[in-house]
């Protein structure tokens, strides 16, 4: 148990310490040239305390930074009244450690990968303008609570995004392909051939007729629909009565062909996790089963309001970064 959690016992009813330490390298090629190389090294921690049923938070670069506990306790004096308690120690299904080679990737490795991919694209499409982003991310995330949780996990992945802008359409429209892996990326020829084929479509654009048409959504576009659905499945929206799905559990809400599952433990996924950002064990779950709503995405707070079982959906990260200054949310 860290000193901070021990100290918290004399001034608060419960405490939770969340810490991250991440390292990311990012290379951007624009029009075939390296625009910039960026490294991001983030160490940060968030402390939450419960005192007299109220929640207070503070944030700092490290757990030994002066005033972290004092600030959280001060905030709890006026804090949000909550009915939950921080996570207790329970068995966690651990995922496999990330491929250690991913964490060891250097900027030179990323530059070499980009140069190799660009060369192979230009071999097929000599006039293509090639824009690329390549990055690697490695980090450690840990959660500790005064209720006995003390858990940490390493993560790591590599990413490559390539854009081939269509001629005469400016720089914002083009063929795009992405690759994401927990191991160093190996870009196969079919991946490149498909990207170049998509790029050739841009040379023969056609304008579809307006009106109601049958549409085939690519997986990326289908994901946009899922995102809209997830807003309605957010436990906070459900608890506040703002979701149209709030009272539809065990009801048919979608076509029976549609099933929505989540499995943060899936070893095939480059980004996986065995516990959420509140230290709750993650588990495979069916949220919509053949069109029937089975439950919601919940953090500890919304779970307590919904009287739902632990879901392990709490996340502090935003879509933009590992910004821990946001409170955990489903």
């Amino acid at each position: 148990m860290t000193t901070l959690i021990q100290q918290s016992k004399s001034v608060a009813d419960q405490a939770e310490l969340y810490q991250i330490n991440t390292r990311a390298a990012n290379v951007m090629f624009s029009k075939g040239e390296v625009e910039v190389v960026a490294n991001r090294n983030v160490a940060a921690c968030a402390l939450r305390v419960l005192k007299d049923g109220k929640l207070g938070s503070s944030y700092a670069g490290s757990a030994d930074q002066e005033g972290l506990l004092r600030d959280a306790v001060s905030a709890a004096a006026f804090g949000q009244a909550v009915a939950f308690r921080f996570a207790e120690e329970k068995p966690v299904n651990r995922t496999l450690e990330p491929d250690p080679r991913t964490a060891e990737l250097t900027v030179a490795d990323l530059l070499d990968l980009c140069q190799d991919v660009r060369t192979r694209i230009l071999r097929l499409e000599p006039k293509a303008v090639v824009n690329m982003t390549c990055r690697t991310h490695a980090g450690t995330r840990s959660v500790e609570t005064s209720s006995g949780v003390q858990i940490s996990e390493r993560s790591g992945h590599a990413y490559l995004g390539v854009e081939l802008p269509f001629a005469d359409h400016g720089t914002d429209v083009g063929a795009v392909a992405e690759a994401l892996s927990s191991s160093p990326l190996a870009i196969e020829d079919p991946w490149i051939e498909q990207l170049v084929e998509m790029h050739t479509w841009g040379a023969q654009p056609s304008v579809p007729t307006s009106g109601r048409l049958p549409v085939l959504l690519a997986p990326g576009a289908s994901n946009l629909l899922t995102m809209a659905l997830l807003v309605c499945l957010d436990g906070r929206a459900v608890a506040a009565g703002l979701s149209p799905l709030a009272d539809r559990v065990e009801q048919q809400i979608l076509d029976a062909k549609l099933t929505l599952r989540e499995n943060p433990l899936d070893e095939q996924l480059p980004i996986k996790r065995s516990f959420d950002d509140e230290g709750v064990a993650c588990q495979p779950r069916t949220i919509i089963d053949q069109g029937v709503l089975k439950g919601f995405l919940a953090d500890l707070n919304s779970r307590s309001m919904l009287k739902q079982n632990a879901a392990g959906n709490a996340a502090r990260r935003t879509m933009f970064s590992e910004n821990i200054e946001d409170a955990p949310m489903p």
């Binding site: 938070s57 949000q80 200054e325």
Partner: protein, 459 residues
């Protein structure tokens, strides 16, 4: 701190390097309805380093000052590696070396106000809104942020400077029958906590607008002569024009570079726009930017002609123009990029009455309900009011204003003598290492009259 940063830059085999370290203190309080959603204090710190070697550029952010030397060495090595993949050397425009410490002087410093007092003030404004029976939801947020920044580069510049800002914003949603509308409350946007106090009149004004809006009919879509209030005109100049003045957004855009060439006529001769980080007590006020360039006003439009644009040292060298001191980072985790400061439409000679009375059939539009800026823009109105036979008439709802930047600038025919600076503003801009959100910007304008503006509505 300066010595630690200088030590990190010693003996680097690069053409140029700079390093910044930020020590911050922040407070956030949030209510949703009568529920307190968040109350927290933050003490983040971190640094950012940039290294240039021939055509290679590498940047890095870090959290601990102890890591500065190692990170800087690695970043220099990355710049050298990148140089092999970039043909042209990257140039930086020359700027004078600065060795100075800039301190902020706040009349009422939010850091000296207790958390309890901040909580109670936010709760007070929230409760005023909550007392209205037709209120469906409120969301009120308080934020303050202090940063002590230390900056050193290999050319000898070494400065410390401070940023301090506090604000409160509120969104109030009301429902009457099937009509759902919202009102906004935003105060502060400077180092002076006193601006947040005694603002009940503004809150009551927002609630009165909401009350009228809930019974208003939707605007009929069409092309109208429009008087845009200072809020809407400020957002227009920031979003539609200001971002096009940021050199990094026009650099790779041949059409924009041509349309916005210095000296090009883009508006009537009465139209003047300046970006001025030296205006005292505003969100976009600062003494020096985050690459050690002293802040100064930049005239963007002078008598209707493009007079300047906003630069980093890198873009200034690329354009062959002078640096303007607009290269700024939102916080320690990010490198600097070109941002506006306080962007202002300068006042004209017309009164609001003259503008209204010049319109036979048109709209008065109170802007500020979000939107998308660009060469083609769309902004939502908080509310609008019909103008008939030179008089303000009934309020209409659901109006939004859209148009093309260049044709709209040409259609501005009257500029008010009643300039107003916005209080709270925020702005996001994508950068290589993520989207940087900042509230350290501001915009201002008087009323302006647009002869023909496209107004969209639901009827």
């Amino acid at each position: 701190m300066k010595e630690k940063l200088r030590a990190a830059l010693l003996d680097l085999d690069v053409d140029y390097a700079d390093i910044r370290f930020d020590q911050e203190q922040k407070t956030q309080i949030g209510f949703k309805g009568d529920q307190l959603e968040q109350i927290a204090t933050f003490n983040p710190q971190g640094g950012h380093v940039r290294t240039y070697y021939r055509g290679g550029k590498a940047i890095a952010s870090f959290s601990k000052i102890e890591d500065a030397i190692e990170i800087t060495r690695k970043t220099a090595a990355a710049a050298r590696a990148a140089a092999a993949h970039h043909r042209e050397p990257i140039r930086l425009a020359d700027v004078p070396m600065i060795q100075e410490d800039f301190a902020i002087h706040a009349t009422a410093d939010p850091r000296r106000v207790s958390l309890a007092e901040k909580h109670d003030l936010l709760s007070h404004y929230n409760s005023i809104a909550m007392q209205v029976p037709e209120i469906l939801m409120t969301q009120f947020m308080y934020g303050d942020s202090y940063a002590l920044r230390t900056y050193v580069n290999t050319e000898g510049t070494a400065v410390t400077y401070e940023h301090l800002i506090s604000h409160m914003i509120g969104i109030i949603v009301g429902k009457r029958g099937d009509a759902v509308q919202r009102a906004y409350f935003a105060v502060g946007g400077s180092e002076d906590y006193g601006r947040l106090l005694d603002r009940e009149t503004l809150m009551e004004q927002a609630l009165a607008e909401l009350d009228e809006l809930l019974s208003a009919s939707p605007v009929k879509a069409g092309v109208y002569p429009v008087v845009l209030d200072p809020y809407g005109a400020s957002i227009f100049i920031h979003e539609a024009f200001g971002h096009r003045s940021e050199a990094d957004l026009t650099q790779e855009h041949p059409m924009l570079r041509e349309r916005l060439a210095l000296g090009s006529e883009i508006a009537s001769p009465m139209f003047n726009v300046v970006d001025d980080p030296t205006i005292p007590g505003r969100g976009g006020t600062y003494p020096v930017d985050d690459e050690g360039v002293r802040a100064k006003p930049t005239q963007l439009i002078s008598e209707g002609r493009v007079a300047g644009r906003l630069h980093s040292r890198e873009s200034a060298a690329s354009f062959g123009e002078q640096p303007t001191g607009n290269c700024r980072a939102s916080d320690a985790g990010y490198g600097p990029l070109i941002r506006m400061s306080n962007t202002v439409i300068e006042p004209g000679k017309h009164t609001l009455d003259e503008m209204i009375s010049s319109i036979d059939d048109g709209l008065y539009v109170a802007g500020g309900a979000g939107g998308q800026g660009g060469i083609d823009f769309t902004f939502g109105a908080r509310w609008a009011r019909r103008i008939r036979h030179g008089k303000l008439r009934e309020m209409v709802s659901d109006a939004n204003l859209s148009g093309n930047l260049f044709s709209t600038l040409k259609a501005i025919s009257m500029i008010g003598n009643d300039p107003l600076m916005l209080e709270y503003c925020d702005c996001g801009k994508g950068s290589f290492d993520g989207v940087q959100m900042t509230s350290r910007i501001c915009a201002g304008a008087p009323h302006i009259k647009i002869d023909a503006a496209t107004v969209g509505g639901v009827s």
